[in-house]
């Protein structure tokens, strides 16, 4: 079986991003699998060398126009790789920027494309993918029909760990036509969202916070924990109540804190996808039917506007008694 995986790093790619993809490709491909990797960016040579040393055939397409993520360049490079490699399975990371490539690959292969795959397993000579639909109301298991398939994988579908040593592979460089229709100009990162990745406790607010003026309640709650960060659902960011760097979910950050405290968030699967691997999940919502309660370890039916001050007050009372 031939498995092609690909990454579009904006600069250098760390082993943290690369290894899970390679591990997953090796695992799904099974014994004797031929696993290849496309790296499409700038300054990727070091990463390409590491991957080749792990036994992969690495296709490397570097260009100044890939200094920033370039979905069009990536899509064209991926199609070129596919024409040369004719893989049975193409594995891509999750992300909006990978979707044009996933679609172009599927059209090129006359194959299936399945996005936001949450888990994948082998069944005899084929694979079974699982993903959510309808805000998490259903899981769809799809048995691939034996045709080539292109999958974008959520982090939970990736296999962690060190890549086993293999015989040295090779790095194949190739150039792409210089002129593209899409010309990336600049990246705007609001500020580092690293605090979300490193916090033990994440206090996340949703529509239930009511308006921008109430965000201070969540900020006050964040302060009672020594290691904590403030997060938000998409609607809170869309409404301008918090900047997008706070967003958790499919189009935001994926987080795995010790405690995820969801305040006034209904629990769409887009949001759940970004935090479901948290160790302890607590949902506070005035609606006892909120879907989040199906995915939480602990639930409290209260209006967060009135409950958060009570929680902070009780914390300080208890601290004062000690």
């Amino acid at each position: 079986m031939k498995v092609l995986t690909a990454l579009m790093p904006g600069g250098s790619t760390s082993a943290n991003e690369l290894n899970p993809l390679i591990n997953t490709a090796l695992s799904l491909g099974g014994e004797g699998a031929e696993v290849s990797l496309l790296l499409c960016g700038s300054e990727c040579e070091g990463t390409a060398g590491i991957a080749a040393a792990q036994g992969l055939r690495v296709y490397l397409s570097e260009s100044e126009s890939c200094r920033l993520p370039n979905s069009e360049f990536f899509a064209q490079a991926l199609v070129k790789c596919i024409e040369e490699n004719t893989p049975d399975l193409v594995l891509l990371p999750r992300g909006m920027n990978y979707l044009p490539g996933a679609a172009a690959a599927a059209v090129s292969l006359h194959g299936r494309v399945i996005t936001e795959v949450e888990s994948i397993s082998r069944r005899n000579d084929t694979f079974v993918t699982t993903r959510s639909i309808g805000n998490g109301s259903f899981m769809v298991k799809e048995v691939l029909s034996g045709k080539p398939a292109v999958l974008t994988l959520q982090p939970g579908a990736l296999k962690e760990g060190q890549v086993p040593a293999g015989e040295a592979g090779e790095v194949i460089r190739f150039d792409m036509p210089g002129k593209m229709s899409l010309e990336p100009l600049e990246l705007e990162a609001e500020e580092s969202a690293r605090d979300l990745e490193e916090a033990d406790v994440i206090v996340a607010v949703g529509r239930g916070i009511g308006n921008k003026d109430n965000i201070y309640l969540a900020r006050d709650l964040v302060k009672i924990f020594p290691s904590s960060a403030l997060a938000a659902s998409r609607i809170v960011c869309d409404r301008g109540w918090l900047p997008y760097r706070h967003q958790v979910g499919i189009t935001g950050k994926t987080v795995t804190p010790k405690v995820y405290l969801a305040c006034g968030i209904s629990g769409t699967s887009q949001h759940l996808a970004g935090m479901k691997d948290s160790r302890i999940i607590v949902a506070v919502n005035s609606d006892p039917g909120a879907p989040f309660f199906n995915y939480a370890h602990y639930g409290i039916t209260e209006d967060i506007i009135t409950f958060i001050p009570v929680l902070i007050n009780e914390y300080h009372n208890e601290k004062g008694r000690k």
Binding site: L68, P69, E72, A75, M96, N97, L99, P100, A103, H110, G111, V113, I114, T115, R131, S132, I133, G134, N135, G136, S137, F138, M139, V140, E142, V143, S145, M180, S181, L182, E183, P184, L187, E188, A189, E190, D200, V201, F225, D238, G240, R245, I250, T251, G252, K253, K258, Q270, R279, I281, H297, Y298, I300, E302, T306, F307, V310, E314, Y315, E318
Partner: protein
């Protein structure tokens, strides 16, 4: 400039789908259907360009059974010039390859400078129909676009795309092109009375059904209700009692 906005029709509560006889989950017939949220944002983005330049033409298209007409009528009320419904079954709309194939058949040769879709639908959450349509038509795609500025003289667009984690990328793109549109700070408009009156005089144009079933037969599907994470422990009592219990949970977790 000629813009086509692809409109997705979804059940009002996508989470309330139940298994139907043919194995596909469906919303009950009594459930109201409406325009997908990100389709609304895509249409708003197109209409804003029309506001800036009245020469811009905005058409909408949706694929599905006659029930989709209501949502397409809404697009006319919001201000689109014409609306088209491609006649396919509801099951066909489950398969992005099929939807992209019929949209491609419809679009080819119509001379649209810009095609817009929502970045991801609320019901099927695949985010791939737009990119597949672009691949079918061999158009460049900008994914998850939140803002656009049209340079009429140079016939190009300045787009702001959302990458993951609050990072945005600004890019320039030549036309024709396809954008998948993400929500953003500009809310979709409510139809004005004038627009509603104008839309009453307009019909949704019917486009004959599927010429081809799409490039790939679907695999075997199994739909299941998801297992909850675990039985949630609901914390009961007065707000103060609940708060104290929660603080105890935080302490046991070692985070306080």
């Amino acid at each position: 400039m000629k813009i086509l906005v692809c409109i997705k029709d979804v059940p009002d509560e996508p989470a309330a789908m139940e298994s139907a006889g043919d194995g596909y989950p469906r919303a009950g017939e009594s459930m109201v259907r409406r325009m997908d949220r990100l389709s609304e944002y895509a249409l708003e983005m197109a209409l804003a360009m029309k506001d800036n330049d009245p020469a811009v033409v905005v058409d909408t298209v949706g694929a599905g059974p006659p029930s989709v007409n209501r949502t397409l009528k809404r697009s006319l009320e919001m201000g689109s010039d014409r609306a088209f419904r491609i006649d396919v079954t509801e099951v066909d709309t489950w398969h992005p390859e099929r939807v992209a194939a019929v949209l491609g058949d419809f679009t080819r040769g119509c001379g649209y400078d810009l095609i817009m879709t929502g970045a991801m639908s609320e019901d099927l959450m695949q985010g791939i129909t737009g990119p597949l349509l672009a691949a079918e038509l061999k158009l460049p795609t900008a994914p998850a676009v939140m803002e656009t500025v049209y340079d009429k003289e140079k016939s190009n667009l300045l787009v702001t795309c959302e990458l993951e984690g609050g990072v945005r990328e600004k890019a320039r793109m030549a036309l024709p092109a396809l954008l998948t549109v993400q929500s953003g700070p500009r809310n979709p408009r409510y139809p004005s009375l004038t627009s509603k009156l104008r839309a009453r005089q307009q019909e949704v144009n019917l486009v004959p059904g599927l010429k081809k079933k799409g490039p790939v037969p679907p695999g075997e599907y199994i739909f299941e209700k998801p297992e909850p994470l675990g039985l949630v422990s609901m914390i009961e009592g007065t707000p103060e009692e609940k708060a104290r219990d929660l603080i105890e949970i935080f302490r046991e977790a070692g985070v306080l």
